[in-house]
């Protein structure tokens, strides 16, 4: 998106005095175009996150208990802290936009830097959360583990046995030799023409899943969604950082402040995504605990 801002900076690239890029008739058209472009881009973003939200909903519907357990394994207090940090950063961003519109460049500077600080604060908290999960090895993939105390909590709460990982991992994809005689002896009628088919890559056990893997799915989606959101926060920091730099070079005036506004829209979007992520991932199933 920073390149979109760049397109608008054409204004300053050319003969230095014209107030809009060469492809536009006037600054108003330029601003309108930028705004529509940003909204269209946000529509794309909604669909981009949308696919992940769909996956989240499907699996939550299918594995409600594991989603409950996953929710409990996240620290709602840190999530709450992050929500406040981001909401507050939205406020500072809104103030930045307002400052730019009023031409108060000093205040703009302060607001932008505050927003960056808050964004970093968000990332720091997120890093702590990720690090904690890393230490407990609650990272989807080969070394995924569930800390024993979490299993205890779960078993106490539901009075159920937590299903440990099956042997699937070991046999899936490994070279297994298919024996046409099978474990049951020869079948009565055999087709002749399959000599090449005696080796295949496939598990011999039936295909099914267990609690361990369902929980892994929760964390896979947790990391995918918060990770994608985190990337957006980082991009946002770069964008706001660019604004700070440009502001110090005196780019923004009462008349020309579209990049600030656009970045503002983007930042609010990032905030809104989190406002959905937080309850879905951290709070959703706490109600009946």
């Amino acid at each position: 998106m920073s390149s979109q801002a760049l397109d608008l900076h054409d204004a300053h690239g050319h003969d230095g005095h014209s107030s809009h890029a060469h492809q536009f008739d006037d600054p108003v058209q330029q601003r309108d175009s930028a705004t529509l472009g940003m909204w269209a881009f946000l529509a794309t973003e909604v669909l981009f996150f949308g696919a992940l939200f769909v996956m989240y909903s499907v699996f939550r519907y299918r594995y409600p208990v594991m989603w409950d357990m996953g929710s409990h394994m996240l620290d709602w207090k840190l999530g709450c802290l992050n929500t406040f940090i981001l909401l507050f950063s939205s406020l500072t961003m809104a103030l930045a936009v307002q400052s730019a519109q009023l031409g108060k460049t000093k205040r703009l500077n302060v607001c932008l830097i505050l927003t960056i600080v808050l964004a970093f604060g968000f990332l720091v908290v997120k890093t702590f959360e990720y690090h904690h999960k890393y230490e407990e090895s609650v990272i989807p993939g080969r070394y995924f583990q569930i800390p024993p105390h979490e299993i205890e909590i779960y078993e106490k709460k539901y009075g159920e046995v937590f299903h440990p990982p099956s042997k699937m991992e070991a046999s899936a994809g490994s070279e297994t030799v298919y024996d046409p005689m099978g474990p049951y002896g020869p079948g009565p009628v055999m087709h002749d023409g399959h000599p090449e088919m005696t080796t295949a890559k496939a598990p011999l056990e039936p295909v099914f899943t267990d609690d361990y893997r369902k929980l892994q799915l929760f964390f896979a989606l947790y990391f995918a969604m918060t990770g994608l959101h985190g990337i957006h926060v980082i991009i946002g920091i770069f964008m706001i950082g660019t604004l700070v730099y440009l502001n110090q070079k005196g780019w923004f005036t009462k008349e020309y402040n579209t990049p600030v506004e656009m970045t503002g829209l983007y930042w609010h979007f990032v905030d809104i995504v989190w406002v959905f992520l937080y309850p879905l991932l951290y709070l959703m199933d706490r109600a009946h605990s």
Partner: protein
């Protein structure tokens, strides 16, 4: 035979006639519209080629009447075609109650089939003509698709779940069996044949194949050996639901919903006992993941379904 002039493959099942009829009517419709537009285009193309002496006075830039006509006619035809096709489709998704049940397990790159009487086949399926056959299918690895062109039936075979397909062969013969969903390197070798036989030949064929036990017998053995009977038998000390007469009937669950006890429900109850817990019972059953193959599951389910 008029049909032999048309590029219609052999019709060997009850459904194939209905589907071919639908296909031919669609084709008639397609040909009609293609010819209609082509003829009009050709006439215009010849008549109005630049330099031709044609009356070009009072041309037309648009006409609401025409637009409505050629929107409404396709709409009506489309809805009509949809209704008919859906009517035929209903038949395809509802296997008759008295169907003979055969189980199919797909894997890269072969079909493993078991008859109720216990006979096993690989890449071949023997069926009697004149009797509906219902296949319950699953896959051990990737998605496959069970396709018998002469019967006009096809169904994806998806790992982790059961899918169903039914047909009634009408003509003895040997027909192609293809895997239609791309499944890896030797996808095009995952083929075989379906042999439709007169009922008495089928009986003979069944007897010729030596089999130790029928599917139900195998299931009974598993029920015992895997310890199912320890809890699910009448004299058990553990409180577990009795399975007698469970098959097909409604099962009230502890979350208040009621589900039909179909094959998939039984499968899930064995592998994922916590997924749908019967009302009034505790979710204490251990999972049998990793202890049963897909074939054994089919046998166990076949046995459970016989419990009265």
């Amino acid at each position: 035979m008029l049909l032999s002039l048309l590029p219609i493959p052999e019709q060997a099942s009850t459904q194939s006639v209905a589907i071919d009829t639908l296909f031919l009517v669609f084709t008639a419709l397609v040909v009609f519209f293609t010819v209609l537009v082509s003829v009009v285009l050709t006439i215009f193309a010849i008549k109005y080629t630049r330099g031709s002496k044609a009356d070009r006075s009072n041309p037309l830039d648009g006409s609401l009447k025409l637009e409505i006509t050629w929107s409404v006619i396709p709409l009506v035809l489309a809805i009509g075609a949809f209704s008919w096709a859906s009517y035929v489709y209903f038949d395809l998704v509802h296997p008759p109650a008295d169907s003979m049940e055969v189980t199919v397990v797909g894997r890269q790159w072969m079909w493993k089939i078991q008859h109720p009487t216990g006979q096993r086949e690989i890449n071949e399926l023997h069926v009697p003509v004149g009797r509906p056959v219902k296949l319950t299918m699953t896959s051990q690895d990737v998605i496959h698709s069970f396709f018998i062109p002469a019967f006009r039936v096809k169904q994806d075979v998806v790992p982790g779940t059961y899918s169903q397909l039914w047909f009634e062969a009408t003509k003895p013969g040997t027909y192609h069996l293809f895997c239609a969903e791309y499944c890896g390197t030797e996808h095009s070798r995952m083929i075989g044949s379906v042999v439709a036989m007169e009922p008495q030949d089928y009986e003979k064929w069944l007897q010729a194949g030596s089999t130790n036990e029928s599917m139900v017998q195998a299931g009974e053995r598993l029920f015992r050996d895997k310890g199912c009977s320890g809890c699910h038998a009448g004299n058990s000390s553990v409180r577990a639901p009795l399975l007698n007469g469970i098959s097909g009937g409604p099962v009230p669950l502890d979350d208040g919903t009621v589900v039909p006890a179909d094959d998939l429900y039984l499968r899930d109850s064995i592998l994922l006992p916590k997924k749908q817990v019967a009302a009034g019972f505790k979710p204490i059953m251990p999972t049998f993941q990793g202890q049963l193959s897909e074939e054994e599951l089919f046998q166990l389910i076949a046995y459970i379904k016989t419990l009265e």
